[in-house]
């Protein structure tokens, strides 16, 4: 083989880096879902160099500017009346999950120093919006049809979707919200938000305001 041959390997080579046990535990604690160490490190690198397409937080003096990216998911929900597929858009909250998980277990000092607001985690809103829906395997239709026909059922779908998105984003479980009555009880939501240290701004705009409209 000539000296000028370019060798192309068929696979990406794996390397090993040395970490203390403590650093490895910190890395494990900020995993989202079943992320591998490779995926965690890649995500943190992308956040640092600003190429992560998710929500970003920029501290500017006393102000923290949050630029939300939108995420979406389709959720299957069975109520007492029907089974639905509900398509929702919402603010991507993965960075707040990263901050929360770092705070909740081992202090994530460097990240907190970067976004510091007197050591308090920044507030956020989920801003869940139902953009499409269908009953069972029926036709997709505008959510406004259900909203106009059965406001309570529509609100229930919204609240179930919100709960699912919070559980999924923050890897938590909210057992306070199981039955239909549970979802419409503001006190249950407040307990859940406080127990998990979720944003009270979200509680007010994503939950309280919506339930007030139902009761008006």
């Amino acid at each position: 083989m000539s000296k000028n041959t370019i060798k192309v390997s068929s696979k990406e080579k794996a390397t090993s880096i040395r970490l203390t046990e403590r650093t490895k535990r910190m890395l494990d604690s900020i995993a989202i879902g079943k992320e591998t160490h490779e995926q965690i490190v890649s995500r943190l690198i992308n956040i640092c160099i600003g190429t992560d397409p998710s929500t970003s937080i920029s501290p500017k003096g006393n102000v923290i500017i949050t630029k939300y990216e939108k995420a979406n998911k389709t959720i299957s929900i069975e109520t007492g009346k029907n089974t639905y597929s509900v398509v929702c858009t919402y603010n991507d909250l993965s960075i707040f999950s990263t901050i929360r998980n770092g705070i909740g277990t081992i202090p994530h000092k460097q990240l907190m120093a970067y976004i510091s607001n007197n050591g308090v985690a920044p507030e956020w809103e989920a801003d869940v919006e139902i953009v499409n829906m269908r009953k069972a395997n029926g036709n997709w239709e505008q959510p406004s049809h259900l909203m106009n026909k059965d406001k309570k059922e529509y609100l229930l779908l919204y609240l179930v979707s919100l709960k699912h998105i919070l559980e999924d984003s923050f890897h938590i479980s909210i057992p306070e919200l199981t039955s239909e009555d549970d979802y419409f009880d503001l006190g249950n939501w407040e307990k859940a938000y406080k127990r998990y240290g979720l944003s009270m701004e979200s509680f007010h705009s994503d939950v309280e305001k919506k339930l007030r409209v139902k009761n008006s």
């Binding site: 979406n72 398509v87 858009t89 036709n139």
Partner: protein, 198 residues
């Protein structure tokens, strides 16, 4: 996220087809006769900030050759992520984009309505060129379309402003000079969009 539903208000509802999938809502009217068809369609993405109003015609000429023309007004979050008109001229293998700058939501919707008003002329041209006897005006539109004359003038003004500020671009993003813009007027489906008063 707000969606734009304009086409259904100005079309002949008997020929309008609505289809909604998990991620998109589409309204369209299509006319077909033999080897020729023309379609006016409006698409909203339900999941991202993406919209288009399309006027597309296709004529099968011979084996492997279909003459296609397309004009649209649209915006989308990736690629050319500003609001713009886009014209595909298959015979020249060319794509032309006209930037619609600094428009608020209300003015953007005016441009969309203006596009719809101009579409009447393009459809009429296709009818005459292809010897179609059907009343395509009635097939595609209802009487409310006539109310959009002001919106057509508004859109033409925006196109004129684009021409003055290097906002008429080829597919590589290079602005077209005056002679190239004049040359585009040969394309009959583009001519009504370049017919501004200076």
């Amino acid at each position: 996220m707000s969606h734009i539903y304009i086409l259904p208000y100005y079309t002949n509802i008997e020929n309008l087809r609505e289809s909604r999938s998990e991620r998109e809502h589409n309204s369209s009217i299509k006319f077909s006769l033999g080897y020729f068809h023309i379609e006016l369609s409006e698409t909203n993405s339900l999941l991202e900030d993406k919209y288009s109003l399309n006027l597309h015609s296709a004529k099968y000429l011979m084996e492997g050759i279909t003459e296609q023309k397309e004009a649209m007004i649209h915006h989308h979050p990736k690629g050319h992520n500003w609001k713009h008109l886009q014209f595909k001229i298959k015979s020249r293998n060319e794509v032309i984009r006209i930037k619609l700058d600094a428009l608020d939501d209300e003015d953007y919707q005016k441009c969309i309505k203006g596009f719809l008003h101009i579409s009447q002329k393009v459809i009429q041209y296709e009818k005459e060129t292809n010897g179609i006897e059907d009343d395509l005006q009635r097939y595609f539109f209802n009487s409310k379309i006539k109310q959009l004359e002001g919106e057509e003038r508004f859109l033409l003004k925006q196109i004129y402003l684009a021409s003055k500020s290097n906002g008429i671009l080829d597919d590589s993003g290079n602005p077209l000079d005056r002679s190239r813009i004049e040359d585009l007027k040969i394309e009959k489906h583009m001519l009504p969009f370049l017919n501004w008063d200076e």
